[in-house]
C-alpha cells in the first residue's frame, strides 16, 4: 500500500511537471461536488446542490482572497462512476476539495483517492459510521445513524417502551441503525422482539409490517432511506398499526421535512430523534429556512440541505484558518475542532474522528401554522458518533 501510493505519487508529480500551463489561477478555491443528480437518490443531490448554492449566495463567493468555484458532477449513485469523476476532478479540474457524497459506497469508493491525492473530502450525506475511517482526509458534516439512533433507544426506555420490533432497509445505514438501536435498547433492559430487514428497492412493505403487527410489541422502530419513508408511513397508517397501540418511532427517516406534510394528521404525535428539524427554533435556522424557501419556491429544507450548508461553512472557515492555503493536509487540520452555530444548533468537528458532534433532538410531529412539523421537545447535547466512541474505549 505504501509503496504503491508513493510510486503513484511519483507518477503524478512526473505527469504534473510534464503538463505545463495547466495550473489554475492562484486565487480560486475549486470544489468538486459529487452528488447523485439523477437516479433514485436524485432528490438528495439536488438538495445538497441547493444548500451549497445557498451558502455561497449568503456568504459571498470569495473567501480568504480566493474565488469559490463549484464543479458539479452527477455520480448517478454509481461508485465506479463517482470514482472516475473524482479522479478527473482532481487531475483535470485541479479541485482543492471534494464534497457531496450521497451514498455510502460512493463515499467509500472515492476515499482511497482522497488519501492518495491528499485532497480533503467533505461528506455531506452518506451516514455509515465507518466512512470517516476510510481516509484521513474525510471530514463529515452529516451524521451517523448510531448518533441519532442511540438517543432514541434511551428515550424509548425512559418512556416505558419495553418491547420493540425493528424494521430497516437492508443496506449499510439501515443495518447500522438496527444494530445501534438493538444494542442500546437491550443494554437498557429493553427487548427487541424482531429485527426485520426489507430490501432497499422494495416497493411493498406490507409483509414486514404484518410481521411487526403479529409480534405485538410496544413500538416499531423504523429506518428506511430518503424517499421510502412516505410509503411505509402510509402503510403503517393503512394497517391501523398506529391505532393498535403500536407506537412508531424512528430515527428521522420517515418524518422527513420534505414529505412530512403529505402524511396528514395520522402522523401527528409520531416520535423521532434527529439532529435537524426545519422547525428548530433558532435565529440561524429561521433565516436558513426562509432563504431556502425563497430559493426553492417554497420548499422546506431537509437534512442534505443543512449538511451541505454546514459543509460549505466548514470549508470556508478552514480556508480562512489556513489564510488561503489550499494544501490538503492543512485544510483537514484546520477543519478539526472547528465549532460553529449551525441552523441545526451548535456543532463541531471531532478532532479525533473528523466526524461531526452535534445535538440530537427528540421530536414529535405537531401541527404548526397549518402545517406538520417535527417539533423538538428534548435536546441531547453534543452527541458523538457512538460507534467510534466505543471503538476508542474498547482497545
Amino acid at each position: 500500500m505504501f509503496s504503491r501510493s508513493s510510486i503513484a505519487m511519483s507518477w503524478l508529480s512526473a505527469l504534473a511537471m510534464a503538463l505545463p500551463g495547466v495550473c489554475f489561477a492562484q486565487d480560486t478555491l475549486r470544489i468538486g461536488l459529487i452528488v447523485p443528480m439523477t437516479g433514485p437518490f436524485a432528490s438528495t443531490g439536488r438538495m445538497i446542490e441547493t444548500g451549497v448554492n445557498l451558502y455561497i449566495k449568503k456568504h459571498g463567493n470569495t473567501v480568504a482572497g480566493r474565488r469559490v468555484e463549484i464543479v458539479l458532477k452527477d455520480d448517478t449513485g454509481t461508485p465506479d462512476i463517482a470514482k472516475r469523476l473524482a479522479q478527473e476532478l482532481v487531475t483535470n479540474d485541479k479541485v482543492n476539495l471534494l464534497a457531496g457524497f450521497g451514498l455510502t459506497p460512493v463515499a467509500l469508493s472515492v476515499a482511497p483517492l482522497a488519501t492518495q491525492a491528499k485532497v480533503p473530502m467533505v461528506v455531506m450525506m452518506a451516514a455509515t459510521s465507518t466512512i470517516t475511517e476510510a481516509s484521513p482526509y474525510i471530514v463529515r458534516t452529516s451524521y451517523t445513524l448510531p448518533q441519532v439512533t442511540e438517543p432514541l433507544a434511551d428515550w424509548a426506555r425512559k418512556n416505558s417502551i419495553a418491547k420493540v420490533v425493528t424494521l430497516v432497509s437492508d443496506y449499510g445505514p439501515g443495518i447500522d441503525a438496527e444494530r445501534a438501536f438493538r444494542e442500546r435498547f437491550s443494554s437498557k433492559g429493553g427487548a427487541v422482539a424482531g429485527a426485520l430487514r426489507v430490501p432497499l428497492r422494495d416497493p411493498d412493505f406490507s409483509p414486514a409490517l404484518q410481521r411487526a403487527a403479529d409480534a405485538k410489541a410496544d413500538a416499531l422502530f423504523v429506518f428506511v432511506p430518503t424517499g421510502a419513508g412516505t410509503s411505509i408511513m402510509k402503510q403503517i397508517i393503512e394497517r391501523g398499526l398506529d391505532k393498535s397501540g403500536l407506537k412508531v418511532i424512528t430515527a428521522g427517516s420517515i418524518v422527513e421535512d420534505e414529505v412530512l406534510n403529505t402524511l396528514g394528521d395520522a402522523a401527528v404525535g409520531l416520535a423521532s430523534t434527529q439532529h435537524y428539524s426545519a422547525a428548530h427554533d433558532s435565529p440561524e435556522n429561521r433565516e436558513f429556512v426562509a432563504d431556502y424557501k425563497a430559493a426553492t419556491n417554497g420548499g422546506r429544507p431537509d437534512l442534505p440541505a443543512v449538511h451541505a450548508y454546514d459543509g460549505m461553512h466548514l470549508i470556508y472557515e478552514a480556508v480562512r484558518k489556513t489564510a488561503g492555503s489550499v494544501d490538503g493536509q492543512r485544510l483537514v487540520d484546520a477543519m478539526k475542532g472547528l465549532a460553529w452555530m449551525s441552523p441545526r444548533g451548535p456543532v463541531s468537528i471531532d478532532p479525533d474522528t473528523r466526524d461531526i458532534i452535534q445535538n440530537v433532538y427528540v421530536r414529535k410531529v405537531m401541527r404548526r401554522y397549518g402545517e406538520l412539523y417535527n417539533v423538538e421537545l428534548e435536546t441531547i447535547p453534543d452527541v458523538k458518533d457512538p460507534v467510534k466512541l466505543a471503538k476508542k474505549k474498547s482497545p
Binding site: R197, D204, S206, P207, E238, E258, V259, T262
Partner: protein, 284 residues
C-alpha cells in the same frame, strides 16, 4: 395468514393494473414499449396534482388520470410510435428507453425529484376487520378494480367486433388492412387504452409503492416479469402471473424474511424454464 394472502392478492392486482397495458401493447401489438412505466408515472403525477393542488376528489381523479394518460398515449402513438410498428424490437427498445429518459428528466424538471403522495379520502383509509382476515379498504378497492379491468378488457377483446378486429390486426397487419380493417385507428385506440390503464395503475400505485421521477425505471422489470411470466397471448395469463407474483412476493417476505426477496426472481426463472412462453401461451 389470510391477511397475508389478501395483501399478496392486492399487490398482485396492483401489478396487474400497472402491467395490463403492457400486456396489450407488448403482448398483443408486439411492440416493446419500455416506456410503459412513463405512462404510469404520468397517471400518478396527474392524480397527485389533481388531489393536492386542485382538490379534486380521489374517485374523480382516477378517471381523469386514465383519460389524460390515454390522450398522451394517443398523441405519442400518432406522432412517434406509429412509425415504429414495423421496425425491429431493438429499435423499439432504443426508442422507448429514450422516451423513459426524457420523461424522467422532464418530470424532475417540473415536479422535483422528491417522493409524491396525497391524502386518501377517509372512506378509503383503515381496514375492515373480518373474522380471520383484516382487509385494507384501499387494497380492497385495488383488488376490485383489477378484477373489473380484467373482465372489461376480456369482454372487449373476445366479445366485441372491435376485439376481433384488433386480434385480426395483431395476427396479420398487412392482410387485415387488405381486407378492410382500419388497423391504424384500431392500434391507436388500443395503444391509448393501454396507456390509460398504465396511468390508472400509476394513480392507484402512488399510495402503495410511492411515486418519484424514477418510477418508470424502477418498475420496468416488474412489468416485464408480469407479461413474460403470464405469456403474451392475452390478458388472463398476465392476470394469473400478477396474482402469483404478488402472493409469492408478499408471502415470501413474510415467511422467509431473510430470503424473501429472492422469491419473485426465483419464481420467474422457474416458471420460464418450465414454460418458456409463459403460463398461458398461444397454441402454435
Amino acid at each position: 395468514m389470510l391477511t397475508i394472502l389478501f395483501d399478496g392478492v392486492a399487490y398482485g392486482m396492483l401489478l396487474f393494473v400497472l402491467a395490463c397495458g403492457l400486456a396489450v401493447t407488448l403482448g398483443l401489438m408486439n411492440f416493446v414499449n419500455l416506456a410503459h412505466g412513463a405512462f404510469a408515472m404520468t397517471g400518478g403525477y396527474v392524480t397527485t396534482v389533481l388531489l393536492n393542488d386542485w382538490h379534486v376528489p380521489f374517485l374523480m381523479a382516477l378517471p381523469i388520470a386514465f383519460l389524460a394518460t390515454a390522450m398522451l398515449g394517443l398523441l405519442l402513438e400518432r406522432t412517434l410510435y406509429v412509425r415504429l410498428y414495423t421496425c425491429g424490437h431493438l429499435d423499439q427498445v432504443l426508442f422507448s428507453i429514450g422516451i423513459v429518459f426524457m420523461s424522467v428528466a422532464a418530470v424532475t424538471y417540473f415536479m422535483g425529484s422528491q417522493q409524491q403522495s396525497f391524502q386518501l379520502p377517509a372512506f378509503l383509509q383503515g381496514r375492515f376487520e373480518l373474522e380471520l382476515l383484516s382487509v385494507g379498504r384501499y387494497r380492497a378497492l385495488v383488488v376490485a378494480m383489477g378484477v373489473a379491468i380484467l373482465i372489461i378488457l376480456q369482454v372487449i377483446l373476445m366479445k366485441t367486433s372491435f376485439g376481433s378486429r384488433l386480434r385480426a390486426a395483431v395476427d396479420d397487419r398487412r392482410v387485415a388492412r387488405g381486407l378492410g380493417i382500419s388497423v391504424g385507428p384500431i392500434f391507436s385506440l388500443t395503444f391509448a387504452i393501454g396507456s390509460g390503464l398504465a396511468g390508472l395503475g400509476g394513480a392507484l400505485g402512488v399510495e402503495i409503492v410511492g411515486l418519484d421521477p424514477n418510477f418508470p425505471l424502477k418498475f420496468m422489470i416488474y412489468f416485464l416479469i408480469v407479461v413474460t411470466v403470464g405469456g403474451t397471448s392475452g390478458l388472463i395469463g398476465p392476470f394469473l402471473a400478477s396474482l402469483l407474483l404478488g402472493i409469492a412476493d408478499v408471502a415470501g417476505k413474510y415467511y422467509l424474511p431473510d430470503t424473501g426477496s429472492f422469491a419473485i426472481y426465483t419464481l420467474m426463472i422457474v416458471v420460464l424454464l418450465m414454460r418458456p412462453q409463459g403460463l398461458l401461451s398461444k397454441a402454435q
